[in-house]
Symmetry: C2
């Protein structure tokens, strides 16, 4: 019987051994050791390689059995056959393994045979394992980083609340890099590849009880045990939002998935049903998943689907309103007595409807006035869009809007479209701890996720 | 009877007068004059303002009638009532006007009244006009720039083939800024605001015969004369691709549009039908329009919907394949004899299906080999995705792929997801003249546009 306790040690290791450690910067294992050192992992690190006495100032061991202490995680960065050979040897002190190595099920029948034997050995020895054919763990809490791509190539995000679970290593790398580039963080990222043992259900069970994780984002090619997945996901959803991107939905995506991590995708409709049953919010695309991660770092789910839109550019407001309707959100009119109050506080030509258009005459305080007067009147989420053309609009507005968002207890999402100048201005929001979305489409994708996606019927909401 | 000849002079002016010119950098007119000078407009520039003798080294005129030469375009940057007053005066030498000023129909009944009188005066005097409540023209061919937002705030794109027509000034500014930021160019951008006279149909008639324009992108809130629009758009579609984003599709987007440029949006279904009839490719969102502009600068429409996908990361390939299917594109299997040939030329673990996964062992020549062997076998468009993790992949691959694309005569689209490092690597493609898309979703949006969008039925294609 597998319980969350079984894999919890992967997320609080006191010791990590690196099989195949090397001082040669061209080796994957070099990057892994370098990442662990750079991250500042506080536990013991044991390089293992019979060819060296010492690597980067650390004592190097000829084999796992020469390490006379417990090894919480043994990271395997050696060819597939060597993984089996080593695990067949003396590994009594090893609790868990992260098998980076490829050359298993994903390469065809021969590799599949190896993977079956690998599974048998792991069972026999009682070792829990992630992989093979994976990147392993990037953990901003315990400072573990087994990703073999340098931070020069794939930037590492700072600490925040969303944990990401994925079969695909390239997906893990891509989303980490982009999130970091947009100033967004993560809690823990797990790339488990072929899932010879640890899978999304194990991880969901652990993350359900993980205080460091505020929300979970899943990238799914396939799920082995559907019933267990629904149970694990439901359990997690009770505690925090879980979102999922299912890829390999149809031919030929499904065909590609089968060779990629050896997965058989199964009928997409079964996944849709499982997500619905478990209360998992399904997203439709990579961009939607990325937007979801950004927004779930900052906000819990909204209480309903009524969106207030405030802009200083009419065209953008209309695009946001259109996208809201398209996504099943609502943008109801502002109550008429609020309109009267607002007209006194906003620029003369402002359009006091929903969307509110503050026009190019906008000053910082107009955004705050619009939020203060209108947001209480029956909206669940506000989208605030800023074009930085207006001469009296300054980045100081960011902290003011942040303070308002903090005090009102409802999500306020920021949209700042444009190029270099706009991104520079908008960085005031990132600095104030608010995620920034760069297109009307993107901010509405994030809003739709907070409003529960398509799996949360309107009738359940205000 | 209005023909294209009537507004052609807006796109080859020999003289521009700037009503309300000012040496004060806080005035909109200062930015307009500055933009014209920076762009290097080769015609005559006449600042007009009774308060000055000279502005920025140019002789300043007290009134339009004091300019003893023909004025092709009089740019009005004065309050709404002053526009009417000036036009009511002596303006015999003025051919066309760009009325930047707001304070007309978009502000309500009073402004509407002003706009009706404006229309009467223009008709009476035989002056063609763009605006009011607009940004006017940004033209990379004739070096005209009447946009009153500085290039420090809104970057100006370089010269390329797509012309953009829009009612919304904020939309014009936003897309120009983002295109410039992503290294993409434009031919001519026209922001015509309230359309007291010149509208999308006039512009489409002109652009149909404009050699500098390879494709047209439309942002539409409303169209006044539907029949004329269909005729103008059809005429343009005979010559070059026309794409359109209709905003204000439904309440409340439509409600916002009515106050924004005073437009009445009309039923969305009528627009859909008009686009279909005219052969206009409709895009669904701002992001899709931007992606379309980038790709139409480089490629004509594809001959069919069969997509070849080549990647070096399995997860990305699956996401691209999924997005293709979702967008109504097809990703048929590679013919088996091609598979055999390819296997000999690609890395050992490469997955030779569609998507082709070249894996982390990829070298530059593998991309070329995959394109050379597989693309001829019955695909209409190739999507090439590059993750820059693989150590043997270098930016030199960009020119090689560009050369292949040039020689094969079919579109090859580049997807390069990720953050700083990836963007830096991918800039080799931009430098080689190929647009880069940064997410699986984005490259597929561009591919879908080239494949004719939803208005081009599969049966018309190979």
């Amino acid at each position: 019987m597998i319980t969350e306790g079984h894999i919890g040690f992967f997320f609080k290791p006191e010791s990590i051994a690196l099989i195949g450690a090397s001082p040669n910067p061209e080796k994957l294992s070099y990057t892994i050791l370098d990442s662990l050192l750079r991250m500042g992992f506080q536990g013991k690190i044991y390089p293992v390689n019979p060819g060296y006495q010492e690597i980067r100032g650390l004592k190097c061991y000829p084999g796992l059995d020469e390490i006379k202490n417990r090894v919480d995680i043994a990271v395997f960065a050696v060819p597939a056959p060597a993984v089996l050979e080593i695990l067949n040897g003396s590994v009594e002190n090893v609790k868990g393994a992260i098998i980076i190595s490829s050359g298993f099920r994903e390469i065809g029948p021969e590799g599949k045979e190896l993977e079956i034997r690998l599974k048998e050995i792991l069972n026999e020895k009682g070792i829990r394992a992630m992989g093979p054919n994976c990147l392993g763990i990037y953990d901003t809490i315990t400072k573990v980083d087994t990703f073999f791509i340098t931070s020069g190539k794939v930037e590492r995000p700072a600490r925040n609340g969303v944990s990401v679970l994925t079969q695909s290593g390239s997906f893990a790398a891509m989303i980490m890099d982009e999130l970091a580039n947009e100033g967004a963080g993560v809690a823990r990222v797990v790339s488990y590849g072929n899932k010879v043992d640890v899978d999304e259900s194990d991880c969901l069970e652990f993350l359900a009880g993980d205080d460091a994780t505020k929300a979970v984002a899943l990238y799914i090619e396939s799920v082995g045990n559907g019933r267990r997945f629904i149970a694990a996901a439901s359990g997690c959803v009770q505690k925090k939002p879980v979102i999922a991107l299912k890829v390999g939905k149809r031919e030929p995506g499904a065909r590609a998935a089968s060779s990629h991590t050896g997965a058989v995708s199964g009928r997409y409709e079964a996944y849709e049903a499982a997500f619905r049953k478990a209360g998992v919010i399904e997203v439709a695309s990579y961009e939607e998943l990325k937007d979801a991660c950004k927004v779930l770092n900052r906000y819990p789910l909204a209480q309903g689907k009524r969106i207030l839109i405030i802009t200083d550019g009419g065209g953008i407001g209309i695009s946001i309103a259109d996208a809201c309707e398209e996504a099943g959100l609502r943008a109801p009119e502002i109550a008429s007595r609020t309109v009267e109050k607002l007209k006194k506080k906003l620029p003369a030509f402002a359009s006091v409807k929903n969307p509110v258009d503050l026009t190019g005459s906008v000053r910082n305080e107009h955004y705050i006035a619009a939020l203060q007067e209108a947001f209480g009147e029956g909206y669940d989420l506000a989208i605030v869009s800023l074009l930085w053309g207006p001469p009296l609009l300054t980045p100081d507005v960011a902290e003011k809007i942040r303070d308002f968002a903090d005090s009102c207890g409802k999500p306020v999402l920021i949209c700042s479209p444009g190029g270099k100048f706009s991104r520079e201005m908008a960085s005031a929001f990132t600095a104030a701890g608010m995620p920034v979305f760069f297109t009307p489409d993107s901010v509405v994708r994030a809003a739709a996720v907070l409003c529960g996606g398509k799996n949360k019927p309107e009738s359940n909401l205000r």
